[in-house]
């Protein structure tokens, strides 16, 4: 029992984010409405971003801005890892850009087909 609790406490952050990722992935694959698919994609991306952030954590460390006055005696274990934050700043911007393009495409699709449900759109395509 103790062993299981130990493992859970050490890894539960990764598991939560993986579950969130899979919820988003299910949304993209299985939902019918295009906007719901876009939302699922956004959840998937956000879960991966959070996963990266959580890997940079260090116990007992503070944010990676060197404290004023302590520049001479900087120890790496006092500050959390800045690299995942940097990578995820980039990833957030990429996610927002993809979201913007996807929404613009959804607006265009709506103008053409008057609906955002994928089965209705395919029906209209088949008929024409």
């Amino acid at each position: 029992m103790d062993r299981i609790l130990e493992v859970v406490i050490a890894k539960y952050n990764y598991w939560i984010y993986i579950v969130l990722m899979m919820i988003g992935l299910y949304g993209v694959i299985a939902k019918n409405n295009l906007v719901k698919k876009i939302v699922g994609m956004s959840i998937f991306q956000t879960a991966i971003i959070l996963f990266f952030i959580s890997m940079g954590m260090k116990k007992g460390a503070t944010i990676p801005i060197i404290i004023h006055g302590q520049e001479a005696s900087v120890r790496a274990s006092d500050y959390i890892n800045p690299l995942p934050h940097v990578l995820m700043l980039t990833a957030i911007v990429v996610a927002v850009s993809t979201l913007g393009v996807a929404l613009a495409l959804a607006v265009k699709i709506y103008k053409e087909f008057d609906t955002l449900e994928e089965d209705e759109i395919l029906e209209k395509i088949r008929k024409s």
Binding site: M21, L25, V28, L34, K37, M41, F44, Q45, I48, F51, F52, M55, L83, P84, L87, T90, A91, V94, S97, T98, V101, A102, L105, A106, K108, I109, E112, F113, I121, I125
Partner: protein, 492 residues
């Protein structure tokens, strides 16, 4: 300036993209010449870079003067160099050829269209030249987002096809990112060379195994490898012609390069081919993918859709060739990558010229085209022969190497798939040529006058067609001096 060539090769298209977009708002007539100059400089730089690599060995370039693994480094070896040259030449030729199309379709947003095309080229060049795993992801997203937007300009069904491409492409790219994240948790590094050396000691780790699987699945999604290819036929068919002729030859081939770089250099041949017995499973699956691609291509009525589905077959060749695991197979796959850029460009440019004159692309509209558009059809014949694999075009030599590799590795199913798909391609193109040459039906009334596409489309097309034959005639030299030395030592 020569030592800065790796940076120039990506920075010049980037700055040209900004200039073209700004010109679209200030003086639209300048968009085409600005892009032409930029792509010309890029093509020359990449050829000079290839020459430098052939002479001096691998070229490394530290961006910001920070050494690896703390900064981002560009590493150009023979594999990179030849793919870079192919991409930049393809983009330059396509730029000239698509001028008339773009002017007629997108004149009110020409700056934006040309800007996005140049950004796509930047992304493709950057993916090829980088030596950092995360930098590859960012450039991959540049290429992808611009491709999504360019494809959606087709009107009608194009936005829907592009949105489906958005979904599948995003999942593929973020799977790659997740895999890089797993590698980072286990090793702490993002630089490819550094990762390769650290991973040597972690062969039996389960996290590394899952990272490998997830990265390869993500790359396959973006490459259009069966069964993850669902987005490809619709996206490329409904896109406007200028976008298809740029994206179709480049996007999937660049992702195939990424797969080769990761399998051969990052994870190493012993790991990639040995883990899970992947070697045999993937080659069997690639043979299946070749057959599936052939069946899909056979069942298409529209010419544009048919040549799009041929891309599926070519990609499956490259995956199978890489995972055969011997020198012939890998050499064949790399040479096929370079060939396929030009073969696809040739066939797509030829059909786009047809579409520019004809508007309709079903088999009835093909009648009598040999006398109406002899140069275009001649180039289409050359491209088709190369896809089928007839000497002296370059396609024959790469297929020969793939067959040899399959024979040596004992994968007879891959040999059967290769031969079968070549026959299928022959049948596919023969249908087109028969209609175009003999021309039975209501439309033919005797002698057709020659009504070629504009000179700006025909001349680049002929250049590519001649290039395909030239590449085939020089293939022995190309393979022995560029491709053979590019393979890592572990490939036997």
């Amino acid at each position: 300036m020569t030592s800065h060539l790796p940076a120039l090769v990506v920075t010049v298209p980037l700055l040209t993209a900004f200039a073209a977009f700004a010109a679209g708002w200030l003086r639209p007539k300048l968009c085409f010449p600005v892009g032409l100059t930029g792509l010309g400089i890029t093509a020359i730089s990449s050829i000079l870079l290839l020459a430098e690599v052939l002479e001096a060995g691998t070229v490394t370039y530290e961006l910001g003067r920070w050494p690896a693994p703390w900064g981002i480094v560009y590493v150009v070896d023979r594999l990179n160099g030849v793919v870079l040259a192919a991409i930049s030449l393809c983009a330059f030729i396509q730029w000239i050829s698509s001028r008339a199309s773009v002017k007629s379709q997108f004149s009110d947003r020409i700056g934006a269209f040309y800007g996005l095309e140049l950004l796509f080229v930047t992304g493709a060049m950057g993916i090829t030249v980088t030596g950092d795993a995360f930098n590859l992801y960012v450039l991959l997203e540049i290429a992808s987002i611009t491709a999504y937007a360019l494809i959606a300009m087709g009107g009608g069904r194009a936005p829907l096809s592009s949105l489906n491409y958005v979904f599948m492409g995003t999942i593929g790219a973020w799977f790659y990112l997740l895999g890089v994240g797993y590698l980072y948790i286990m090793t702490g590094s993002l630089n490819m060379a550094d990762l390769a050396s650290i991973l040597q000691g972690m062969r039996s780790s389960q996290a590394i195994l899952v990272a490998f699987v997830i990265i390869i699945v993500g790359v396959w999604l973006k490459m259009g490898f069966f069964p993850l290819h669902g987005w490809l036929p619709n996206a490329y068919t409904h896109a406007p012609w200028p976008a298809t002729t740029l994206i179709a030859p480049l996007m999937t081939k660049v992702m195939a390069y990424v797969m080769m770089r990761l399998v051969l250099f990052l994870f190493g041949p012993e790991y990639s081919f040995g883990v899970l017995g992947l070697k045999d499973v993937v080659v069997w699956w690639a043979s299946l993918a070749v057959v599936a691609g052939s069946v899909i291509a056979l069942s298409q009525k529209d010419l544009k859709r048919m040549i799009t589905c041929i891309i599926l077959i070519e990609i499956a060749y490259m995956v199978g060739g890489t995972f055969l695991g011997n020198r012939s197979g890998t050499t064949g796959a790399i040479f096929h990558l370079v060939n396929d850029v030009f073969m696809t460009l040739c066939v797509f440019l030829a059909v786009s010229s047809l579409a520019f004159r004809q508007r309709e692309l079903d088999m009835d509209a093909m009648e009598g085209l040999f006398s109406e558009m002899p140069f275009t059809m001649g180039a289409l014949v050359t491209g088709a022969l190369s896809i089928v694999g007839v000497p002296p075009t370059c396609g024959f030599f790469s297929k020969w190497l793939l067959l040899k590799g399959a024979l040596e590795a004992g994968h007879y199913e891959f040999m059967v798939a290769l031969i079968l798909s070549s026959l299928v391609c022959l049948v596919l193109f023969f249908r087109v040529f028969e209609a175009a040459y003999f021309g039975h039906g209501e439309r033919s009334h005797g002698h057709h006058r020659m009504r070629e596409a504009p000179l700006g489309m025909v001349v680049p097309l002929l250049v590519v067609a001649i290039g395909i034959v030239a590449l085939g005639l020089m293939s022995g030299k190309v393979i022995s001096s560029i491709i053979e030395p590019a393979l890592p030592r572990g490939v036997l």
